[in-house]
């Protein structure tokens, strides 16, 4: 099944939390830990949005973004950049390379969810994982919505 979101993040704890909150918001997620694997995964099955950390091993998130924008197949693929350096220069670089959005660590979980929602719209309610919908629980609970 085509994933909604490809998460590219090498820090295990952050990756776990992103997977959880985005899945909890109702999206299908796929995760990789480096840029090379990200490009492979996108080539095989492009997601609806890529959540891309900048500081990756070997190939930075900016390098991955540059590659995506140079390819006609992925030129318009929405990419949300995550960075630990909220400096103006990184923001300008992201904009210059064609990033669709920019979130600075440390972030509130709602920031990431809202940013993704702005790029691809809300997740279908029926797609929410079962663990978030115990019997009788309102769909309004949880990290988002």
């Amino acid at each position: 099944m085509k994933p909604d979101i490809l998460i590219v993040e090498d820090e295990p704890a952050i990756l776990d939390s992103l997977e959880f909150i985005l899945a909890h918001a109702g999206w299908q997620t796929q995760s990789v830990t480096n840029g090379e694997a990200a490009l492979e995964a996108i080539a095989k099955m492009p997601p609806r949005v890529v959540v891309l950390d900048v500081m990756l091993p070997r190939q930075s998130g900016f390098d991955v973004l540059k590659t995506l924008r140079a390819d006609l197949q992925t030129h318009n693929l929405p990419v949300l950049i995550l960075t630990a350096k909220g400096q103006q220069q990184d923001r300008q670089t992201a904009q210059h390379l064609g990033a669709s959005g920019f979130v600075t660590k440390p972030y509130a979980n709602t920031e990431v969810v809202e940013a993704v929602r702005q790029l691809i719209g809300a997740a279908p309610k029926s797609a929410r994982p079962k663990q978030d919908q115990p019997a009788g629980t309102s769909a309004q609970n949880g990290v988002s919505n």
């Binding site: 952050i14 909890h24 440390p106 972030y107 663990q131 949880g142 990290v143």
Partner: protein, 533 residues
């Protein structure tokens, strides 16, 4: 700028309740002459000054105001900082503050030093944060770990029905990330501390200078120990007034017999890669002291004496380095090195005989260098240390510069404002001597306040350069008040009584009030200095 010694004598006399005629009688001068001294219209020094100090029961340094003069110079330099720009403070204000409120002046100086240190630390941290990959990496790690902890904590707070296995996994991750975050924070703090230490404005060198100046560059215990060792080495126990010079062979033999040190000369071909550009070196493990063939005889002799100082008087040197004025290991290390060199100088140029030779030769440094098989710099350095109370030579200040003009070593002369770092006035002989290497350049100079000095400088090379090697040049300068110039060979042919013939100079462009000087390369630090004129 001269210390107002006459005013100080008058103040102390009045404090003791002595009349002018009473004090004059005690020191065997006329009341009218004492009156001229107190009005700063006559110089006073030497034995007369010592007698006056004794009659007034004050320390000679307090009477001459040497420590106060240094404070005045430091405050003048502080007032030129942009921090005080709008206050229009200058030399007159520094004088007044030191004279009327000396404790407050010292407090202000201490605060300014603290301010410089804080600025230097903040600047260092800012620069390193911007450019250092280690800091950048540490900060990135911290932010990533904080992100993980925050995000996971939010999940645990906001998702009450999370399955137990996942909840436990997230708790473990929070714990692990918090632990890692603590380690990174400690590393970052340690790195900050290291940076602050490295960028302190109160550098180890400045602490060492404070110690040396505080002791007037005279260390009696080292002199005594060096004198005893000299007697032992030269077998001149019965002729202390005419000790024989110590030859290179004697020093080498003594090092070998007493300490098992092997001396290798002419270490050259094939050794360059190992030793690099150094002229000499000491290998602790093998106790081997080696010299290149290009090392001068003066340098070899000095380094042999220095090694003797470290091995034979190491404990005494270490004791000196425990002085509370040296607050860091780096300062104590530099002090040890400086004291070892002091000891070597005292050993090679015994105090009494060297002072006698210096006075007989009218402080002709080239003559003394030849007599003692020493370099110009070594002789100059020894002359500056001839400060034994009651048996002192002419008071000299010492300065050394590299060909780029940077001041690399100094020992100040009270009253003569020398920059702590950077460049001095481009007209000083220390720079003009580079144009005529191996020849002594001399000049009589006048500062804007009317003070006059004799400057003597020579540029020389520390090694015997071959055609293939660039000579390593440095310029060494001695300075003394012009009133003592006639005691030197350099002042003999100068017209010392005509200030119009002096070269008009300043301490440095930043602190100089001669706005129309054609050699100025930097603006005056503040307009306040003009108030002095």
């Amino acid at each position: 700028m001269r210390a107002p010694i006459g005013l100080r004598i008058r103040n102390y006399r009045k404090t003791k309740g002595l009349t002018q005629s009473g004090l004059a009688r005690s020191v065997f001068i006329s009341p009218s002459y004492l009156n001229l001294i107190e009005a700063n219209k006559r110089e006073v020094g030497g034995t007369l000054l010592q007698h006056i100090a004794a009659e007034l029961e004050v320390d000679l340094n307090d009477l001459t105001g040497e420590s106060e003069q240094r404070l005045i110079s430091e405050l003048e330099e502080a007032f030129s900082d942009p921090l005080f720009e709008t206050l229009n403070l200058g030399l007159k204000d520094a004088h007044q503050l030191v004279a009327q409120l000396p404790q407050l002046a010292r407090a202000l100086h201490t605060c300014f030093r603290g301010y410089l240190e804080a600025i230097a630390a903040a600047s260092a941290i800012s620069n390193r944060l911007k450019s250092d990959p280690l800091f950048s990496q540490l900060l990135h790690q911290m932010l990533s770990q904080i992100t993980a902890v925050r995000s996971l904590a939010e999940i645990l707070r906001d998702v009450p029905d999370i399955n137990p296995e996942q909840r436990q996994s997230f708790y473990s991750s929070i714990f692990d990330e918090s632990l890692a975050l603590s380690q990174v924070a400690k590393s970052l703090i340690a790195q900050f501390d290291h940076e602050v230490e490295q960028n302190r404005s109160i550098t180890p060198l400045r602490e060492l200078n404070d110690l040396i100046i505080g002791e007037d560059n005279y260390f009696p215990h080292l002199e005594e120990a060096a004198s005893q060792l000299h007697a032992e080495l030269s077998g001149a126990q019965n002729q202390p007034e005419n000790p024989a010079p110590l030859s290179e062979e004697l020093l080498t033999r003594f090092l070998g017999v007493q300490f098992g040190v092997r001396v290798d000369l002419n270490v050259d071909a094939g050794a360059k890669d190992k030793q690099g550009a150094a002229q000499f070196g000491y290998e602790e493990d093998s106790k081997r002291l080696w010299f290149r063939s290009s090392t001068t005889a003066a340098e070899r002799r000095f380094q042999l004496a220095r090694r003797l100082a470290i091995l034979g008087a190491g404990a005494r040197l270490e004791q000196l380095c425990q002085d509370p004025r040296l607050t860091t290991p780096e300062a104590r290390t530099q002090a040890f090195s400086a004291m070892a060199s002091y000891f070597a100088g005292a050993l090679l140029f015994p105090y009494d005989s060297f002072l006698a030779d210096a006075e007989n030769a009218l402080y002709d440094l080239d003559f003394l260098a030849q007599k003692y098989t020493a370099s110009f710099e070594q002789i100059a350095h020894r002359l500056v240390t001839l400060r034994r109370p009651g048996a002192a030579g002419v008071a000299f200040g010492f300065l050394r510069a590299d060909p780029a003009g940077h001041l690399t070593k100094q020992f100040p002369l009270p009253g003569l404002l020398m920059p702590n770092a950077g460049h001095a006035c481009p007209l000083w002989a220390i720079y003009t001597s580079f144009r005529t290497p191996n020849r002594v350049a001399r000049q009589s100079v006048s500062f804007a306040d009317g003070s006059r000095y004799l400057f003597i400088a020579k540029t020389s090379s520390k090694r015997v350069a071959s055609f293939a090697e660039q000579p390593v040049l440095s310029s060494v300068m001695l300075a003394c008040e012009l009133v003592y110039a006639d005691k030197t060979v350099y002042g003999q042919s100068l017209k010392l009584d005509d200030p119009e013939l002096d070269i008009p100079v300043g301490p440095s462009c930043r602190l100089c009030v001669r706005h129309d000087c054609a050699h100025r390369h930097e603006a005056v630090a503040s307009a306040s200095s003009a108030s002095f004129l």
